[in-house]
Symmetry: C2
Subunit: 480 residues, 2 copies
Amino acid sequence: MEKTNLTMLTDFYEITMANGYFNNGFKDRIAYFDMFFREVPDNGGFAIMAGVQPMMDYLKNLHFEPEDIAYLRGCGIFSEGFLQYLQDFHFACDVWAVPEGMPIFPGEPILTVRGPVIQAQFVETMILLTINHESLIATKANRIVRAAQGRPVMEFGSRRAQGADGATLGARAAYIGGCCGTACTICDRDFGVPAMGTMAHSWVQLFDSEEDAFRAYAREYPNACTLLVDTYNVLKSGVPNAIKIFNEEVLPRGYRPAGIRIDSGDITYLTKKARKMLDDAGFPDCKICASNSLDEHLIQDMLIQGAPVDSFGVGERLITSSSHPVFGGVYKLSAVEDKNGNITPKIKVSENVSKITTPCFKKLWRLFDRTSGKAIADVITLYNETIDDTKPYEIFDPVHVWKRKVITNFHAVPLRKKIFDHGKCIAKEKTLKQLQDECTKQVGTLWDEVLRFDNPHRYYVDLSRPLWDIKQKMLDEYTY
Amino acid sequence: MEKTNLTMLTDFYEITMANGYFNNGFKDRIAYFDMFFREVPDNGGFAIMAGVQPMMDYLKNLHFEPEDIAYLRGCGIFSEGFLQYLQDFHFACDVWAVPEGMPIFPGEPILTVRGPVIQAQFVETMILLTINHESLIATKANRIVRAAQGRPVMEFGSRRAQGADGATLGARAAYIGGCCGTACTICDRDFGVPAMGTMAHSWVQLFDSEEDAFRAYAREYPNACTLLVDTYNVLKSGVPNAIKIFNEEVLPRGYRPAGIRIDSGDITYLTKKARKMLDDAGFPDCKICASNSLDEHLIQDMLIQGAPVDSFGVGERLITSSSHPVFGGVYKLSAVEDKNGNITPKIKVSENVSKITTPCFKKLWRLFDRTSGKAIADVITLYNETIDDTKPYEIFDPVHVWKRKVITNFHAVPLRKKIFDHGKCIAKEKTLKQLQDECTKQVGTLWDEVLRFDNPHRYYVDLSRPLWDIKQKMLDEYTY
């Protein structure tokens, strides 16, 4: 896809602040910003990190065109020195991020930007937009895929997506979260997400009869003959006509019918009846695909009721994460650094306790049990701390501090990778399939209690003692 | 903005069907497709049409690049004749659509495409995507703007939008729906939606004190000095510091403070207290802006409780329409036409009654009362019918047919405009401000009972007798 220059897709206040920083001599002041989120969509036990690659593309492409400068000059409020600075703009920040596909939890610094405050501030809008959007969809897709218990789930939602990027990057995120493919053709061409699709009701309507429509389709696509059977009546027309065509030997010798798709009605009832009709007719290998406003709960229910569905097509409720369509990641100043490299932590206090930030330049660790391989807890430390996993390590709840636990027999893994070094992208690009595989593997390290949909166990995300002490001290100072 | 070629942003089945149509001799078969939706988001009384201009841009730009053809050839299932057809593709359809900003109702053909079936089918995905997305956001924005009762509402949601287009086209739609501006800079440059913004909490945090941060901002932007007062404590720190700076005469003589913004806490309580503090300090003209996860219900509640808020910034709940994030528009075959111009109606039956379509090439009318100017009902007729508004006209409920009403003293207006004629765009482009004004005016033609948020009156959308008769006859034939 052609890259659109999205440099100006930024909140206007990023620019008013940047101009203010510039004119107040803060041009070279180094700042640290963290991205974190406060709650898991759908009250789930975890989210899936996604959107990092598109965010990196944005950062790599960050530059101001003459028309951008002209537009800003026309606003009449920005200094010429500042506009000159933008004209010569080169992204020079360091960025650390949790890799795509990794489970993430509330309160963790999933991304940190360190660099000149003008720059580190400016990129806020697009960093949040890209990571929020794709993490939302990857998280939802992962729920739906888990509900399907190994049956393939296809992403079918382009027509209900919130804009073209909603469709394309949404399909990308859905694939990371575990979907096997998408209906959206451009995602196959551009991202390598397998695109698939057969027919709409209009195909069936256009022919003089359903039978003619099925016959023509079977002739056209003998290799992938999946027929949509609910244009008129599933059990009295669609399935009988499909069986008739399968029996007619329209398909060349050696070809078997691929499947039928049901897109309306009581899917559980209809698939049970259709399955029996197909089996009785000698097509036990003909698959049944279900679609029609599905989500993780409907899929779970269908399977509990024994619906013989082999694959699912999931549209609007996946591509918009309709039950929880916002991933609330925020981007907050956590520290500033002076010319001598001295770092001063910064905090944002709030009457909403959940809006209080964790100060300092930090590091994020995940502790895994050496025997089971399961993730035990995440720990946020100061950047220069190290967790020595050869010794027992005490974690404690940062709010209910009397809740403590000594962990032994674990290994500690730093979760974030440095992806930009002084503005240069140093990340190794992975294929989308690798990200999907990594996601599956990492979700597998979570306990079942964290994975369940309703009332999941709250996974531990703790602060190290030194970090906790600094935060408490700063909070004490700000008490009004 | 550079135009990305989104021709391949289409469901894969549009292409498998197109290839099938081509190979079955249906290349020049003329088909009619209608777009309609089934329910108004948030159980509202009406929706707002939007997204037509971006959809027209897509249709005008529709073409296959050599790389698209190469990709499709690589799929190994499409005929060379078909690929050649795509290579020489020229959009040749007629399109009728309800103009942007107009109230629309469930079941109405808000858009019709007539043309070679391959083409009319192919454009389904992007037509639905663009109209669904922007109509969703325009509808939500209009609810929020109405809740604010004349106070300006700004769109603040880019960072939580579902992709870059979700942010930019969402801001465009929000403006049509009545928002006064956006935080998203690129929308100002590219669409003329006024962009605005002042400071984030990080501005305040970066300075040694809140007071210093406010002073620097006031010096920088004397003309638009709005201070964010909730970084530490609104009433004990933010507002007193703001007043201090306002009193210091940092602002040049003749300049008045523009406002304060509160982004957390109990907005009603805090704004009442802050208002009194500002008034007492001699700044009754200093405006108060509120933000923080607002929507139409919270704004309505705040105003009922007497919160002295002058303007609202609305983010995630607007830009994703989070309480109802899907606009369920569909695109269905309604008729085919043979070489002699004979039109055969087509219907899609379904066990879900709401999924049954209305056949035929149709026309959409709105009947307005001549005295009050209010909209009385919409009527869908056959395309060649005319509603003679010099005579009484009987409308009847298409489901509960005994419900009838004779209308007099009205004028009948065809709602849709032809925007493409044999593939050529013939629409006159309007400014976004004109669309916003039109929206305000047209929403003003709806009765209060249709406008209210909860349990609104169901506006009449009826079928003409001739159309109803055809539909019933076709349904009778399909009974199983």
